[in-house]
């Protein structure tokens, strides 16, 4: 089995760590060797949050530069920032809705034009799946379900050895009752959208 190194990146509060944890649990549930790593602490206060899921025989919990097979990014500027982890055969899945950092809000820095940025990425990597994931989360009637949308997209585009049933089981086991339906809907919307892309 080929080792798959997946890096999830986003902004504090977007639910990136939960997505990695669920993917890890689904892999284990499917009997696959898996290691997950995450960074807590300072980064949670609106900073960049990165986590990694490594499915396969590897023991290392982190992914080095130029060695991510899949990048799932919850925010377009963070997609650009994390490209140091990519190589020419990397699959990049990204939400295109900007979440500008406050350095932009106070005029210290400019936010790059997302469309142009996506065009640059598309030329560098094997495949880019880019869509407004936040819109899908809102369509699922749960603006906080972007992480489920991105997981759905990962399962559609990622050629993962983990069955969809396993991740849905974990979403069911780990969602609060009032979010369960919208979480599953968000997953399906992400899955459908990335499947068509």
């Amino acid at each position: 089995m080929k080792t798959q190194r997946i890096v999830n990146v986003g902004v504090g509060g977007q639910g990136n760590l939960l997505a990695s944890n669920l993917l890890g649990q689904a892999a284990l549930d499917a009997g696959l060797p898996v290691v997950v790593s995450e960074i807590h602490g300072m980064a949670q206060r609106g900073g960049v949050v990165e986590s990694a899921v490594i499915i396969g025989q590897a023991k290392s919990p982190i992914v080095s530069d130029a060695e991510a097979d899949i990048i799932v990014s919850f925010e377009p500027v963070e997609t650009l920032r994390i490209l140091n982890k990519a190589h020419k055969d990397t699959l990049v899945i990204t939400n295109t809705r900007p979440l500008p950092p406050f350095t932009v809000a106070i005029g210290q820095a400019a936010y790059p034009e997302p469309q142009a940025a996506m065009a640059i990425i598309a030329k560098k990597v094997k495949r880019l799946v880019a869509f407004d994931g936040q819109a899908l989360a809102e369509q699922a009637k749960n603006p906080l379900s972007l992480n489920m949308v991105m997981l759905g997209a990962l399962f559609a585009a990622g050629d993962l050895p983990v069955p969809v049933a396993a991740i849905k089981k974990m979403i069911r086991q780990n969602s609060k009752e009032r979010f369960l339906e919208s979480n599953l809907a968000a997953f399906d919307l992400g899955f459908k959208t990335a499947g068509k892309a």
């Binding site: 890890g24 602490g41 900073g47 590897a58 290392s60 982190i62 932009v104 210290q108 400019a110």
Partner: protein, 621 residues
């Protein structure tokens, strides 16, 4: 019931390293646990706390968040000397705080298993330094275990309790962020039986460390070291894998990078690896045997070259011919954590193995990216307090600060952090700054940090007639590390059976003459109070009291009343954005706007706006 409390064994669960420590402690029958939270250790105590709260009928251990690490270790020492199995957890710099009791607890020893977790943070993800706490094993003479991942972490925790009991001294369990915060499958064994009641047997000439006693205890500790070394020689935590004439010695997460590199470099037939899991005392005989069996040795250890230097000394004494290397040019650095690629590259280079690296992408054509530093949350009361203080003292005052969310006051536009080295240093260093200069000194400390180690500094300041203003940012919780309780927490809010210590009463009791409690979201009144405090000659204290909004959302939920900018009134001064940088605000077409989803209605910006253009959403409509 939580999976961590499953009584039986056999099943595997995906556990965070820190959860694996908890499961290990439960399997070992832990009866007593103390801590001070700190990344990357915090989920250990948080899990113990949560399990006790959620399933009081299923847990048998006593647990407390102690005031600081020294207190945690001393409290744990009492229980372990009395005869209970005890776990004590802290981050690496916490061990500095606990170092005083640790050095002599090593002399007295303990009467039941005691494991001390030191969670190190190479690459400083959430710390003020990246000190290598393997030194503490050498300094104290205590044994140290260094697991590589969550599964081993659970096994090492159980092993540590047994080893501690066997040797009669505490055992240090040393992790790094990548071990604490990794998740992997951990196989459960049965929960251990818990001995919850001890009977202390007096033995003053063992436990009262006057010089005459300690002279003997030191000799005893040296014997324990010899015993520990003999166990280390035979320990299942130290083992050799692979074969070949190229040798590697590695421990901790670096061992995992090495094993992946061996596979990636297809070098299993050339590389032999000595895994060091029981890392102090070093299994010297086994290591010498290993060194003699290979031609070339690479030591793969993060941070300081402790094992490397020890091996070089051993090699010299034992006429080992193999070249030994670790740190140096083209090898490993003493700074920052390792990663799989780095280890693979150094191994390939040093051993002359064939290696084709994946090429990094060319990224020089990417647009400039805006930085995304961490920021105080929308509605954080610290922001309001910083703003009010700045209105009084401008940019010229010196601001010693402390460890907590408010350290983020470092960043513009707040820019109100001038010096921080450790917990509590804000208060004590203020005395130095104010004596050495004629500049105003207004320092900041959080409530949890004040109880941790601000109190003694404040006693010193009052006693020695220093002259500064201390602002205690009292948000009612330990916010930065995940809302753990502390002595000042209003215990009724969280339903804990602990006793609330009144912060203001403490400050007054320490002899501070000028004490004012402010509500930071009342901006004008706060500014007046701060003015009076800063004008006061001597030590003055401002207690800025407002719950952390994230904590409040859990313990005292209120309906959120977001604000909005009336765009007809807004003249685009943008004071609201330029002066306080609330993440809920942004600029569009030269005017301020508020993200209603993020705004919690603290009304700070509304009080800053010169046009009174910021109003509650309802009032605007």
């Amino acid at each position: 019931m939580d999976r961590l409390l499953t009584p039986g064994g056999g099943k595997s669960h995906l556990l965070l390293g820190n959860e694996a420590i908890v499961r290990g402690a439960l399997e070992a029958g832990v009866a007593f646990a103390t801590c001070y939270p700190g990344t990357p250790s915090s989920e250990v105590p948080d899990t113990l706390y949560r399990l006790r709260k959620e399933s009081p009928e299923a847990v048998q251990y006593y647990f407390e968040y102690s005031t600081n690490e020294k207190v945690a270790l001393e409290c744990a020492a009492g229980a372990a000397v009395a005869g209970l199995r005890t776990l004590c957890t802290m981050k690496h710099v916490g061990v500095n705080v606990a170092a005083d009791p640790l050095m002599t607890l090593a002399y007295t020893g303990v009467n039941a298993g005691m494991v001390l977790l030191t969670a190190d943070d190479p690459s400083l993800f959430s710390s003020q330094n990246e000190q290598d706490n393997r030194f503490y094993a050498r300094l104290s003479g205590l044994p140290m275990l260094e697991p590589s991942g969550p599964a081993e972490l659970k096994e090492c925790t159980v092993y540590g309790f047994d080893l501690s009991e066997q040797l009669g001294v505490p055992v240090m369990l040393r992790t790094t962020t990548r071990v604490n915060h990794a998740r992997e499958a951990v196989t459960f064994n049965k929960l251990g039986k818990v001995k919850t009641q001890a009977q202390f047997k007096k033995s003053p000439f063992q436990y009262v460390t006057v010089p005459a006693v300690s002279r003997q205890l030191h000799l005893k500790l040296l014997k324990v070291y010899d015993q520990a070394q003999a166990i280390s020689e035979q320990s299942s935590l130290n083992f050799v894998t692979g074969k070949g004439k190229l040798g590697i010695v590695a421990g901790g997460v670096a061992y995992n990078y090495v094993m992946d590199a061996v596979a990636d470099l297809d070098a299993a037939k050339q590389v032999k690896v000595f895994k060091l899991g029981f890392s102090w005392p070093l299994p010297e005989k086994a290591l010498v045997k290993f060194l003699k069996s290979v031609d070339k040795v690479l030591v793969v250890e993060e941070l300081e070259p402790l094992v490397e230097n020890a091996l070089k000394a051993l090699a010299q004494e034992n006429k080992v011919k193999a070249r030994i290397a670790g740190k140096g040019p083209k090898l490993f650095s003493r700074a920052y954590e390792f990663n799989p690629r780095l280890v693979r590259e150094v191994m390939a280079g040093y051993f002359g193995l064939k290696y084709k690296a994946t090429k990094p992408l060319k990224l020089d054509d990417l647009p400039a990216l805006p930085n995304r530093p961490p920021n105080l949350c929308p509605g954080c009361p610290h922001r309001a307090t910083f703003y009010a203080v700045k209105q009084v003292v401008g940019d010229t005052a010196i601001h010693p600060t402390d460890i907590g969310c408010y350290t983020l006051g470092l960043l513009p536009p707040i820019s109100m952090a001038d010096f921080v080295i450790c917990m509590g240093s804000s208060v004590s260093s203020s005395g130095g700054f104010s004596r050495a200069t004629d500049q105003k000194v207004v320092s900041f400390i959080g409530d949890s940090t004040f109880f941790h180690s601000g109190i003694t500094g404040l006693v010193n300041a009052v006693h020695n007639n220093h002259n500064f203003t201390l602002v205690i940012l009292d948000n009612g919780t330990t916010a930065m590390t995940g809302h753990q309780p502390h002595p000042g927490v209003e215990t009724d809010k969280i339903g804990d059976p602990t006793t609330h210590i009144d912060l203001e009463g403490v400050v007054r009791g320490l002899g501070v003459q000028h004490v004012t409690v402010i509500k930071p979201f009342k901006v004008r009144a706060s500014i007046e109070a701060i003015k009076a405090a800063v004008d006061y000659q001597g030590v003055s204290v401002i207690i800025s009291k407002e719950l952390c909004p994230l904590f409040a959302r859990r313990v005292a939920p209120k309906s959120r009343k977001p604000f909005a900018v009336n765009l007809d009134k807004c003249k685009g001064h943008l004071d609201c954005i330029k002066k306080v940088a609330c993440p809920a605000m942004f600029v569009e077409d030269g005017k301020a706007k508020i993200n209603a989803l993020q705004c919690i209605g603290c009304a700070l910006c509304a009080q800053i706006c010169p046009e009174n253009a910021i109003l509650p959403v309802k009032a605007e409509a």
